[in-house]
């Protein structure tokens, strides 16, 4: 595990697309504790003048509690700039985790 963080091995990949006031972030693979650094690096790249961060999660297969923490971190940071975070297209285990943690009370969730 330590080796993983030294080598900066990650299990998540992303693509960012900005369209006017909306930033689309397509997240793929697994979002777990090894992605902490990568996720914060990704977050820094996002346009802070946007109104919406739309996370497209169709291709996210797995999320652990650290991954949920990253989304919460993003929500807290974004709300300071009046940016709304939208979680879109979650399925399988990810959808279950969102339900267990009642993420619909924290984020806008779209199918």
């Amino acid at each position: 595990m330590i080796l993983k963080s030294i080598l900066n091995i990650h299990s998540m990949d992303y693509v960012i697309q900005t369209n006017d006031k909306s930033v689309y972030i397509d997240i793929q693979g697994k979002l777990t504790y090894v992605d902490h650094h990568r996720f914060t690096e990704m977050f820094k790249q996002l346009d802070q003048r946007a109104s919406y961060y739309i996370l497209q999660l169709e291709n996210l297969e797995f999320i652990d509690s650290a991954g949920l923490g990253m989304l919460i971190f993003m929500r807290d940071k974004a709300s300071e700039k009046n940016i709304t975070v939208i979680l879109k297209g979650s399925c399988g285990q990810v959808k279950k985790m969102f339900e267990l943690s009642q993420f619909n009370q924290l984020f806008i969730i779209e199918t």
Binding site: S65, I72, E99, L100, S101, Q102, Q105
Partner: protein, 390 residues
């Protein structure tokens, strides 16, 4: 010199110089003292070296090879195998032309060789490098030891706030149940914690918390939640209000992005029901031995410490006909590769089927601590509590 990390006490190091030639000895000591070393001892032969190092272990030994009675090689042979001297830096003076002597010095475990005749700069550089390295490692070792001691006392503290035997016994007798648990940190300290609260003849409460992350930070946060619960006696019978209160106090205490999943339940033996509230904690498993059926209770809820406005609701479930009530951390839902089952998933039948014959505690203990002694480690902190309803 060329090192950036200066050890201010390096020149106070205890150096023992051994040489049977008084003139040579004088030159060596003079070079070292002029360079600033203030603790230089001398020995005229091997026996004297042995006496002096047994008396007080030096920080560096500068050793001549050819000495009467006991040679430098004899000294190294004698002390190197001893545990207390295995890391002592030994510098050996050998003749530059004697390759065999040098070969043997390396073989026996000298740290470095200084060529004779002695060159001042060579001597001082080699002494400095050896001392620097030795003292840095020693410093690191002491630091590590101190950390270990602090860690040990944190582990003892964590153990001491888990439900103690008297508390468990009191509830077992008062409420006609039997309680077994497994609490296994991923490493050293756990980010999980659980508790039991006696209420009265009919009721008792249990709780289980899991902070995001593992290790020290998560453990310190779990101490906070334990304290906050202990100070909330008026809410012991009202799970949802207790969660609301914990959420508010944690929100001000913990950092952005951190959170805690939590479950609090009150078991009522008179009415055979459970009232509980959950903040995204893994489910609660009910099993009926008579009907051989099971049921996972709904434990949805926003984790604690995320949003101060979160609210929680009390949920009720009947305990009639159920014999086992099992509370577990997410280590049991996410470790299928190790356990060969995962609760709440399609792969939980192996565990559920086992409940016909044995308690969940027995099943899990056998997997995690098998008779052959090879203990299994999960990738996460593990908490498992089983309440058998008599």
């Amino acid at each position: 010199m060329m090192f950036s990390h200066q050890l201010y006490y390096l020149y106070d190091a205890d150096i023992l110089v051994a040489d049977d030639d008084p003139i040579n000895l004088k030159i060596l000591v003079s070079h070292l003292q002029k360079a600033g070393y203030s603790n230089v001892r001398t020995a005229g032969n091997g026996i004297e070296v042995m006496e002096k190092i047994e008396n007080k272990k030096p920080d560096l030994l500068l050793l001549d090879i050819i000495m009467p009675e006991m040679t430098g090689f004899d000294v190294i042979r004698k002390i190197r195998p001893k545990h207390s001297f295995e890391n002592l830096p030994i510098l050996v003076q050998t003749s530059i032309s004697n390759a065999e002597e040098q070969q043997q010095a390396w073989t026996l475990g000298a740290n470095d060789i200084i060529n004779k005749p002695i060159q001042r700069m060579e001597l001082l550089s080699r002494v400095y490098i050896q001392l620097h390295q030795y003292l840095m490692i020693k410093e690191l070792h002491e630091y590590q030891q101190k950390n270990q001691e602090e860690m040990d006392s944190a582990i003892r503290l964590q153990q001491s706030i888990l439900p103690q035997q008297e508390c468990i016994k009191q509830i077992e007798e008062q409420n006609n149940v039997s309680i077994h648990s497994i609490f296994k940190p991923y490493r050293f300290l756990s980010g999980d914690l659980w508790g039991l609260i006696p209420i009265n003849q009919d009721k008792f409460a249990f709780w289980s918390s899991d902070f995001m992350g593992k290790g020290l930070q998560a453990a310190l946060n779990s101490f906070r939640i334990h304290t906050t619960i202990s100070n909330s006696k008026n809410l012991f019978s009202n799970p949802s209000e207790l969660l609301k209160h914990l959420n508010k106090s944690l929100k001000t205490l913990i950092k952005n992005g951190n959170f805690c999943t939590f479950l609090y339940g009150v078991i009522d033996r008179k009415n055979e029901e459970i009232t509980y509230a959950s903040a995204g904690h893994p489910s609660l498993l009910l099993y009926s031995q008579t009907n051989e059926t099971h049921h996972f209770l709904n434990t949805e809820g926003v984790p604690l410490g995320v949003d101060e406005k979160s609210t929680y609701t009390n949920k009720k479930a009947s305990l009639k006909n159920f014999s086992n009530l099992i509370i577990y951390s997410d280590a049991l839902t996410e470790s299928k590769d190790i356990l060969d089952f995962a609760l709440e998933q399609d792969d939980c039948t192996k565990f559920i089927d086992g409940l016909k014959e044995r308690s969940g505690y027995q099943i899990l203990s056998n997997i995690i601590q098998p008779m052959n002694g090879s203990e299994i480690t999960l990738n996460d902190d593990l908490t498992f509590i089983e309440i058998l309803l008599k």
